[in-house]
């Protein structure tokens, strides 16, 4: 908290003009309220979807409340709304104080705040309505993506402008973390969301299949890195010394922490795609860089915990420090586990299971949540200029939240390992021990209920925080005291103290004096350029080969584009978020090929804009679902999944049978696909007629098998047509093409 009244610098050289200014805390208060509000909303949606997995009755048979649509709402709300606003709260508070300058522009601050909240509201409306790009953490459709880019640039201008006009020479390391986050998130967001609109809230990714998957997980992993990790490390390096009332343990270590993360993190994305159709060299590179991340992450964690050296007795009394200690420990745990999960053999067990969900929640609930709560409790008395309403309630929040995290993660780790082991179990006759997928789901239900209890406890803690916030806010003064700060004005000339040693002669002398680095760190723009180089060069070397070297994605002659009706069916699959529970990527393991069929090839998804490989199997993989069951089975299964699979937890989609297909949108969608290079040929001129003809065929087959009549213009025929197409092209081509070389051999020729 700044002292009240004007404060001077101790000794000011003669001739220096003193300037007066104040910090803008009104914007910090706004972001703080938004953080808590969206935290409550996002976590309540999380609780609802946890209930839906424990019992499908909680889908209520309402399309906009079904799991597939709400899961992205939960992730977007907690990541971009809760954690995003938390970052902005801390960033606006600390940046002004670290630079001894008010934010560059109050107007830009306000546009940033209201723009970001508008984006969140748009997300909260469009995601339940089924408008989605089907890319995890990048689900929002193109108009909102443009809005995000604009608001983010405004934030960047405001932030960098503040650095430029700062009154402090050195940029404290927290500001480096903020700057790198802002720059990298902008790059990630723009490149992963490149798409061509096919309507006001419908677009297709410009990338397909392997390339799209690679872009998405380059983005997805770095969204975790540069939205949930580096911004919060910046907050840690500011608020932890504040709360502990002492400097960070090792400033040197914090600089190494920063540069190591910038150099390494950007490479790690492909570990989300082990054993998929991604070229093996890429997945190995991703694994190696992930393993290297162990060192800086733990360096950072140790640096945080050692900041409390000699002050551990304070932790006993202070809920704020308690939150920080558990938060930093959770950072250590999840960054220990992350590299572990990136190791291929561990990943083979963990991928597609709840293990990943547990891993994420250790980080999200522990690191992001608890760092945010600690920061909020520290800020409340300072922002509202009155003592915290109840320190005791904050203490209860800590214990109830910690217990909630433990219940959540222990149950979900158990669920993940259980399901992973059940999938790969063979009996003594060499057959799958649990051939029926639903058996491996039913086994998890007790653990899903335990998660509901753990999550409820965690949210109860957040309610206590909300109450504490409101009561503290009620006791605020009638007018906030705005201290006037006096500091020396800006000048271009600078004589550092202590004086550096004179540089030696020649090049070596220039290098060893390191004067240029001092210049660099003072120049935010140049510093930005360095970060951009590190991030972009790494990204290019990793991603470009899959675009430019054909042997990385061998094509398969028999793989053809989806028919117009199947394309619309695929859009329904995307709208309903089916990819949240069903993968379409069979890994080359015997226990997968026994269960699902031939493993997936890179050439099979060359027309998949966007790719739909999925990341979690709450239901079975669907890559070879086509032809496994008759059309009528699917009609009955969509109407009521439990009629055909008694213990299934899938929501029912009875509406498919009554919702008409909007035929007029189909030609436009086929056009956009053709624009993206999908060889539709003459079909673009007859898309609607082709779709109607195929719909009539499917409807006739359903009726002939004893199903309901009159489905030829209903969505059910489109989605059934799509599902029946999955994985069939490669079977059709089996007789005429040579076997495709290993999916994980980038230089193998494959079938062209």
């Amino acid at each position: 908290m700044t002292g009240s009244g004007a404060a001077d610098v101790g000794t000011v050289p003669a001739g220096v003009v003193m300037e007066e200014f104040s910090y803008d805390d009104a914007i910090v208060r706004k972001f703080l309220f938004a953080t808590v509000l969206w935290g409550v909303v996002g976590m309540l949606v999380g609780l609802l979807i946890a209930l839906q997995l424990a019992n499908p009755i909680f889908n209520f048979g309402i399309s906009f409340l079904s799991f597939g649509r709400l899961r992205p709402l939960h992730t977007n709300a907690v990541v971009f709304a809760f954690a995003g606003n938390a970052f902005f709260t801390g960033c606006y508070y600390s940046t002004q104080r670290l630079t001894k300058a008010r934010m560059f522009s109050d107007l830009l601050s306000r546009i940033h705040f209201w723009g970001w909240q508008l984006i969140i509201v748009s997300a909260a409306v469009t995601l339940p309505l089924g408008f989605t790009q089907a890319k995890e953490y990048a689900e929002l459709e193109w108009p909102i993506d443009i809005m995000i880019a604009v608001i983010w640039v405004i934030f960047a201008i405001n932030f960098i402008g503040t650095l430029v006009k700062r009154r402090e020479r050195h940029l404290y390391v927290a500001l480096w973390f903020y700057l790198a986050s802002i720059i990298t998130v902008a790059i990630l967001h723009i490149f992963n969301n490149l798409s061509i609109p096919a309507g006001p809230f419908k677009s297709y990714s410009i990338y397909a299949g392997v390339q799209d998957a690679f872009m998405q997980w380059w983005y997805g992993h770095n969204a975790v890195a540069f939205f949930l990790t580096t911004p919060f490390l910046g907050l840690m390096y500011y608020f932890l010394p504040k709360a502990a009332e002492g400097p960070v343990y090792s400033y040197r270590l914090s600089i190494l922490h920063f540069w190591s993360l910038v150099f390494l993190y950007i490479w790690a994305g492909p570990h989300h795609l082990h054993y998929t159709a991604l070229p093996e060299w890429a997945s190995t590179v991703g694994m190696l860089f992930s393993v290297m991340l162990w060192a800086p992450s733990w360096g950072g964690m140790v640096n945080g915990l050692l900041t409390l050296r000699g002050g551990w007795q304070k932790v006993v009394d202070d809920p704020i420090l308690k939150f920080f200690v558990v938060g930093i420990t959770a950072y250590g745990m999840s960054t220990f586990e992350g590299p572990l999960l990136s190791i291929k053999s561990v990943n083979a067990l963990a991928h597609y299971t709840d293990w990943i969900i547990a891993h994420v929640h250790t980080g999200a609930l522990g690191w992001n949540g608890f760092m945010t709560f600690g920061m909020i409790y520290w800020l409340l008395p300072r922002l509202f200029q009155t003592p915290l309403y109840s320190k005791k309630l904050a203490g209860i929040h800590f214990w109830i939240g910690t217990f909630g995290i433990l219940l959540y993660v222990v149950s979900i780790y158990s669920a993940g390992v259980t399901q992973g082991l059940m999938w790969r179990a063979f009996d003594e006759t060499g057959r799958l021990s649990y051939p029926d997928f639903v058996e491996t789901v039913v086994k998890l239900l007790p653990m899903y209920w335990m998660r509901v209890v753990g999550g409820s406890l965690y949210i109860t803690g957040v309610f206590l925080l909300t109450y504490n916030l409101l009561m503290t806010w009620r006791a605020r003064p009638a007018r906030y005291d705005v201290p006037v700060i006096r500091a020396p004005g800006l000048s271009r000339s600078y004589v550092p103290t202590p004086q550096p040693k004179p540089a030696g002669e020649g090049f070596f002398g220039w290098v060893s004096a390191m004067r240029y680095h001092r210049e660099w760190e003072r120049m935010p723009i140049f510093f930005t350029v360095l970060v951009v180089i590190a991030v972009v060069v790494a990204s290019l070397f990793e991603i470009l080969p899959t675009f430019l070297i054909r042997s990385n994605v061998p094509t398969i002659a028999s793989v053809k584009p989806y028919t117009p009706l199947e394309l619309y069916g695929r859009d329904i699959y995307i709208r309903e978020g089916c990819f949240n529970c069903h993968s379409q990527m069979i890994r080359p393991f015997r226990y997968e090929t026994e269960r699902y069929g031939e493993y997936s090839k890179p050439g099979e998804s060359v027309y998949d804009h966007p790719f739909l490989w999925g990341s979690r199997r709450i239901g079975p993989d669907l890559a070879r679902e086509g032809g496994k069951y008759p059309n009528l089975w699917h009609v009955r299964h969509f109407a009521d999944p439990r009629e055909v699979t008694p213990r299934s937890i899938m929501p029912s989609y009875a509406l498919f049978a009554t919702t008409p297909i909007p035929w007029q949108v189909i030609p436009k969608r086929v056009d956009v696909m053709a624009m993206l290079g999908v060889p539709y040929g003459d079909a673009i001129n007859h898309a609607e007629a082709m779709a109607k003809a195929q719909a009539a065929e499917v409807a006739a087959d359903i009726e002939k098998s004893g199903g309901p009549a009159g489905l030829q213009d209903k969505e059910i025929v489109a989605i059934v047509a799509y599902i029946q197409r999955l994985g069939r092209d490669i079977k059709a081509g089996a007789a005429t093409t040579a076997p495709v070389a290993s999916a994980s051999a980038p230089t193998a020729g494959g079938v062209h």
Binding site: P13, R169, Y172, K242, A487, V495, L548
Partner: protein, 64 residues
């Protein structure tokens, strides 16, 4: 001739290794710079920055 054929035959993969070496060297320089004894005082002063909201540790003005 497609762009991808040209790129595949251009022998560009060596540049990835060049970049790797350059980044490693850059990182080693950073490590060396961070641990230089001459910089100890700077880091000590920088580490104090969050603790004082009012007074700049190293004001940008010394003389005009």
């Amino acid at each position: 001739m497609r762009l991808s054929d040209i790129m595949a035959n251009a022998g560009l993969s060596i540049y990835a290794e060049v970049a790797l070496v350059l980044f490693l060297v850059a990182f080693l320089i950073i490590v060396w710079w961070v641990f230089r004894r001459a910089n100890t005082a700077r880091w000590k002063s920088a580490a104090q920055m969050p603790l004082d909201d009012v007074h700049p540790q190293q004001p940008r003005t010394r003389k005009d």
